[in-house]
């Protein structure tokens, strides 16, 4: 799988939920969908779970260092 985009994963997850809620698939198929959905949800959560903001600034020479946020 190439790098999945967050919004694609979310869209697919929504599609799976809709499909499961409509209950048209058999149990085997439903289990396969469920497993895929669990993976997608985990992927999305991982993308969102960066708890700490990282704010950096690029200096003249192209170096990057952490930017100190001063509250006004």
């Amino acid at each position: 799988m190439t790098e999945l985009k967050f919004e694609e994963a979310l869209a697919r997850l929504e599609e799976i939920v809709r499909s499961l809620e409509q209950g048209e698939s058999g149990l085997d198929e439903a289990l396969v969908l469920f497993e895929e959905g669990v993976k997608l949800a985990r992927f999305c959560n991982n993308k969102l779970d960066q708890a700490e903001a990282k704010i950096e600034i690029m200096l003249n020479e192209g170096q990057i260092e952490t930017f100190e946020v001063k509250d006004a």
Binding site: E7, L13, L20, F34, V38, K47, Q50, I55, I57, I64
Partner: protein, 397 residues
């Protein structure tokens, strides 16, 4: 040799003389008179001062975007070109832009540049790219000491506590600002940011001038990474705003547009997960209920009794089959006895027992008449017990 020109030829020469660059882009200030907004949408009027008057026309395609309606007596600045209307032999001003009096030189230059870049399609909606839904890293091009940066960072971290930001500092005011902003934009292309916020806090038209720089506007339009422009406040539009993929009214608004609400997304995903699990659980319950119903059926409920029934039936059949077979044997045996009796009655052996004999010639043929043998033939006579070989000595036919 005196060679007169035709009127058309003369008009053509005048037209060519007026086609020079000095008349192709003129800005002229004057008072409006004889203003007519024709049914066709074109505007016809004159501009005059105390000594002179010039006819002017502003075509519908040009005047559609006018923010005001000119009226007789207004003093206006018209920008356009001089041309000749051949049928009447009149020169007139073809107006591209019209401004109320008092507009500064900077504004005029702004409007002209806007007209030009717009004509090149730099501001076309089709050029605008969508912003990433969830940017991996946000680039911010602004002054590192400005209030705009503080506002942007505040909103970014509030909406998305895990946001990744790379600030690329640039001058946002003064003569060196355009080059500095272009350099920062160029630098940003080499980083992994997938959206750029470029802006500064609000200011006067002069203070925002860098964001109207032609080079910067072109650089923004050419950026491979989507750019959100955020200059000043609601009402300040810069040319960069028009070229950007998205224009935010303020730096804070730009930050709002660039990152989603992390909490909202997490809640959304968690709700999707719950719905998914619920519907699977429901599915399993439904299937289980169906299975329960099936297992209530007698055959699955008491399989032994069913089997016993079957066994009994088999036994019955077996018994029936035995009876049938025995009957058949008795029947056949009787038939056999009868047949054997008949066979015995017909057997020659029994006849021989009663004293009869069978006479056969040497070829084994049974002789039934004396004619079948000649005198001297050897015949073979079978008796009840044993046999005789005899020679025929005489015969009576």
């Amino acid at each position: 040799m005196f060679q007169p020109l035709s009127v058309s030829e003369l008009t053509q020469q005048i037209k060519s003389a007026l086609a020079g660059p000095e008349f192709q882009s003129v800005a002229v200030e004057g008072e409006v008179s004889n203003f007519v907004h024709h049914r066709s949408g074109h505007m016809y009027f004159s501009l005059k001062d105390s000594k002179s008057r010039i006819k002017a026309v502003m075509f519908r395609s040009r005047n559609q975007r006018l923010q005001f309606v000119p009226a007789n007596g207004d003093t206006l600045i018209a920008v356009g070109s001089i041309g000749v209307y051949e049928p009447n032999g009149e020169y007139q001003l073809y107006v591209d832009l019209l401004f109320p009096q008092g507009i500064g030189e900077l504004h005029l230059a702004f409007e002209r540049l806007k007209e030009k870049l717009e004509g090149e399609g730099l501001f076309d909606a089709a050029r605008k790219r969508p912003l990433p839904f969830l940017p991996g890293r946000v680039g911010v091009i602004t002054s590192p000491s400005g209030a705009a940066l503080r506002d942007i960072l505040h909103v970014l971290t509030r909406r998305f506590p895990g946001v990744q930001v790379l600030i690329i500092p640039a001058l946002v005011q003064g003569d060196e600002a355009p080059a500095s902003l272009i350099a920062a934009l160029t630098m940003a292309q080499k980083t992994d940011v997938d959206v750029i916020i470029m802006g500064r806090g609000g200011g006067s038209f002069e203070e925002l001038a860098a964001f109207n720089d032609e080079g910067l506007v072109r650089a923004v339009a050419a950026s491979a990474i989507p750019v959100v422009s955020a200059c000043g406040h609601e009402t300040d539009f810069t040319l960069t705003d028009f070229a950007a993929d998205l224009r935010a009214p303020t730096p804070s608004a730009a930050a709002e547009l660039v990152v989603p609400l992390q909490q909202e997304l997490l809640e959304n995903i968690s709700s999707l997960q719950k719905r998914m699990a619920d519907s699977l659980r429901r599915k399993i319950q439904t299937d289980r209920r169906y299975l329960d119903k099936l297992s209530q059926s007698p055959i699955l409920q008491r399989p032994d009794s069913y089997l016993n029934q079957l066994r009994q039936r088999v036994d019955e059949l077996w018994t029936g089959l035995g009876r049938f077979q025995r009957h058949q044997v008795v029947l056949r045996r009787g038939k056999l006895h009868a047949a054997a009796g008949k066979l015995e009655a017909l057997s020659p052996l029994k006849t021989l027992g009663r004293g009869y004999a069978i006479c056969q010639n040497e070829r084994g043929e049974i002789l039934r008449a004396a004619e079948q043998a000649q005198e001297g033939d050897t015949v073979h006579i079978t008796l009840h017990k044993g046999s005789l070989s005899c020679t025929v000595e005489g015969r009576e036919t």
